[in-house]
């Protein structure tokens, strides 16, 4: 037994000591993660099999909560809204971030200031930003309605019309993420060796061809990372919905702006259905996991790593 542990730690006394030191040093972090992340996740797992209103003792109901998910229209709606939002947010976010990164990678004057400006929304409180954006989208006196007036779109009820409300939510989400993605893209762009462009130039490649055949493939590992992060992030959009619909109908008219995270929050804290809400959380977790695994699987079709043979 003891020898097994010793062997597991390392082959020599020195390496064992090193291993122990290493463990001691990461222990605070690992323990913190276990207590404040691992434990709640496990508890959510347990809660999802119970009916629990937070006051009375939980009652074990097996898979009832998950079964309910299948039949509740409101869950289906929240799921659909979440995917609609992802479809709105992820492509827009990535294209904009890539565009901005490409421009800010050029030797412009005041490039540093511009980069900082684009990054500013990332460090702005989502709640504060959403409040301001709510004002911008205000149909009667908001700035947007005045800008859109000439196009016959003045006084559009962005935050109330069930068919429109996801658009302002998506706009704020994109606005807040572009800076973050841009920084990653910029880092990715810096790693592309200049010789490749020179070689392409000598071969007579034009501007578009250099972008298409040098920049894009060389940037694909970065793009992959950005896409994965963006998708996960969009699955978890909550604050924007919470704040932007607060002054009209929370969660949108008829639940039209309710995303999965907002849905489970309301189920837990408004309806006191903590078991059901935990089940929703677990399903959300499973969906994100599946989507991410799927992305990892198909990455070899389009992600180009330098070390690989082309």
């Amino acid at each position: 037994m003891t020898t097994a542990i010793l062997n597991w730690l390392g082959p020599t006394p020195l390496s064992r000591r090193k291993a122990l030191w290493g463990m001691a040093l990461v222990a605070p972090n690992v323990l913190g993660l276990m207590f404040f992340f691992g434990l709640p996740v496990l508890m959510a797992f347990g809660t999802s099999f119970n009916e629990w209103n937070a006051i009375k003792p939980p009652r074990f109901v097996g898979l009832d909560n998950f079964e309910r998910l299948l039949y509740e229209d409101s869950f289906e709606q929240a799921l659909t809204n979440t995917f609609k939002l992802i479809a709105l947010v992820v492509p827009a976010e990535i294209l904009l971030a890539l565009g901005v990164a490409l421009l800010l990678n050029l030797p412009l004057r005041g490039r540093g200031v511009l980069r900082a400006l684009y990054f500013l929304p990332v460090v702005t409180s989502t709640v504060a930003a959403s409040v301001v954006w709510t004002g911008i989208f205000q149909p009667r006196y908001g700035i947007l309605s005045q800008v859109l007036e000439p196009f016959g779109l003045g006084e559009t009820k962005w935050l109330v019309e069930p068919g429109l409300v996801l658009i302002p939510v998506a706009v704020v989400a994109v606005w807040q993420r572009v800076g973050f993605d841009m920084v990653i893209f910029l880092a990715g762009l810096q790693t592309i060796p200049g010789v490749l462009y020179e070689a392409a130039l000598i071969d007579g490649a034009g501007r578009w061809q250099r972008f298409r055949h040098v920049t894009l493939p060389m940037l694909s590992p970065t793009t992959f990372l950005v896409v994965v992060l963006a998708v996960i992030n969009s699955f978890q959009i909550f604050d924007q919905v919470y704040v932007m619909t607060l002054r009209t109908v929370p969660g949108g008219v008829g639940g039209s702006a309710t995303t999965l995270t907002y849905y489970l929050y309301r189920r837990a804290f408004t309806n006191s259905e903590f078991g059901y809400a935990s089940a929703v959380a677990l399903v959300l977790f499973a969906i994100i996991l599946l989507v991410t695994v799927f992305q990892l699987r198909i990455q070899r079709r389009w992600v180009y790593y330098e070390s690989e043979e082309g």
């Binding site: 209103n53 006051i55 109330v160 019309e161 002054r247 009209t248 109908v249 929370p250 008219v253």
Partner: protein
């Protein structure tokens, strides 16, 4: 051993003496409506409130309680802001860790009562000789529970609704100011006369949200708005409800009332700000708006009771009273009840009355006058809010249907232009599953 018994004796004597010497609030020579009483044994309590201003006032009254009725007691008073109050309360309830005494709303009461999380205060009311019918029914009925209608809370305050109107606009239009005997037709005529599309001025906005909005108008028809007492069924499709909603929708369709998007939000605060910005001649507002209105509204204004329904002749205000409740699991139930008694007593409520802003629930005329006087020299008809408590309607909405009733139906009718009948039916679909059949 002897020493402890000795000091206990001393304590009892001191308590008795302070009880005898207690400064009963009876400056007018009359008996207090609710008399505070000394506690049996001091101890420690925790208490939660959701408002900073309240915390200040309650803090003062707790000091008075400790000094005059319960020397040696310790109360830890915490403010949990409204935005997180109910979430925190729920999570603490889950951990079996509710504060001993805390503020409750009529909208949230059902959940905590149903789950037996609250201490039954009725035995204490009986013991202290408090007749719980001295409070208006709108203040306490929503806090009763069980077959005998035991009262689980002491009302802290009341809020009623009235019409705030811009006197300058009435003068400019050459209209007489409204009086308490006006009815819906007078209201509609005045609102139409005050509307001026050229100047972007609307006559009135009175539909927004449950408390200040359309339910007041439904109540005036004689129907209990939204849900029958005891959650016995949705009432929004009853003729009275439809009549009230159609009356208000008619004003919207005629351009006399602005829609939600124009006002900038579905809350009465949004409507009030719209009024304060001079774009609205009349707005329905709560008594809680008085201080702000006195400070900030830049034109001449006054308040008048909600207009009467032409047939029933009733002007009915929705009334909400915050309550003091105690946790069922408190370690010091007697002490918690004693503190609540004090906070509801004439002496304890005086602090609220003098603080202004919050209207004290204690029905003593002296206390109500103190509240009116707390606003200082003003010719605003504040008494109208006190009058509105008489024929008032307690709150019938609750958490699970809150959005549907508070804002969704409002936005659907008054912003998206949905038919009243359709919107009412949709709202009832949300309400019905929560009714006790």
């Amino acid at each position: 051993m002897f020493k402890t018994r000795h000091s206990l004796m001393v304590l009892v004597i001191v308590l008795l003496m302070s009880a005898l010497a207690m400064p009963v609030y009876a400056q007018d020579g009359g008996e207090p409506v609710i008399a505070a009483q000394p506690c049996d044994e001091p101890g420690e309590l925790t208490m939660w409130v959701w408002d900073e201003v309240w915390a200040g006032i309650i803090g003062e009254s707790i000091e008075a309680w400790k000094a005059d009725y319960c020397p040696g007691a310790e109360v830890t008073l915490e403010v949990q802001p409204w935005g997180q109050y109910w979430d925190l309360l729920k999570t603490n309830a889950a951990g079996g860790d509710l504060p001993d005494v805390f503020n409750m709303s009529q909208t949230n009461y059902f959940f905590y009562a149903e789950n037996e999380a609250l201490l039954n205060l009725q035995p204490y009311w009986d013991e202290y000789g408090v007749d719980t019918t001295i409070w208006g029914s709108g203040m306490v009925d929503p806090y009763r529970w069980g077959e005998d209608g035991d009262l689980f809370a002491a009302p802290v305050n009341w809020d009623t609704i009235a019409i705030f109107y811009n006197k300058d606009m009435f003068d400019a239009a050459g209209l007489d100011y409204p009086t308490a005997d006006w009815d819906w037709n007078d209201f509609a005529e005045m609102a139409a006369a005050l509307t001026d599309p050229e100047a972007d001025v609307y006559g009135a906005a009175v539909y927004a949200e449950y408390q200040a909005g359309y339910p007041n108008w439904i109540a005036a028809t004689g129907v209990t708005p939204v849900a029958e007492a005891g959650r016995a069924g949705c009432t929004l499709e009853e003729p009275g409800s439809l009549e009230a909603l159609n009356f208000l929708k008619g004003l919207l369709d005629e351009g006399i009332m602005p829609d939600v998007s124009t006002v900038g939000g579905a809350s009465p605060d949004d409507a009030f700000n719209f009024f304060a910005s001079g774009k609205l001649a009349m707005v329905a507002g709560g008594s809680w708006k008085l201080s702000q209105a006195l400070d900030e509204v830049p034109f001449n204004w006054d308040v008048v009771q909600l207009p009467r329904h032409p047939e029933t002749g009733r002007s009915r205000s929705i009334l909400h009273a915050v309550g003091y409740v105690a946790s069922a699991r408190t370690e010091n139930p007697d002490l918690a009840a004693n503190l609540i008694l004090f906070l509801a007593s004439d002496e304890g409520q005086r602090f609220f009355a003098e603080g202004g802003n919050v209207a004290p629930a204690n029905p003593s005329p002296a206390i109500q006058q103190l509240w009116i006087d707390s606003f200082g020299e003003t010719d605003i008809n504040i008494q109208t809010f006190v009058d509105a408590t008489i024929d008032s309607q307690g709150v019938t909405v609750f958490d699970e249907i809150w959005d549907a009733i508070n804002s969704e139906i409002v936005v659907q009718i008054f912003d998206l232009g949905m038919d009243v009948e359709d919107a009412a039916a949709a709202a009832c679909d949300v309400v019905e599953p929560y009714m006790v059949q």
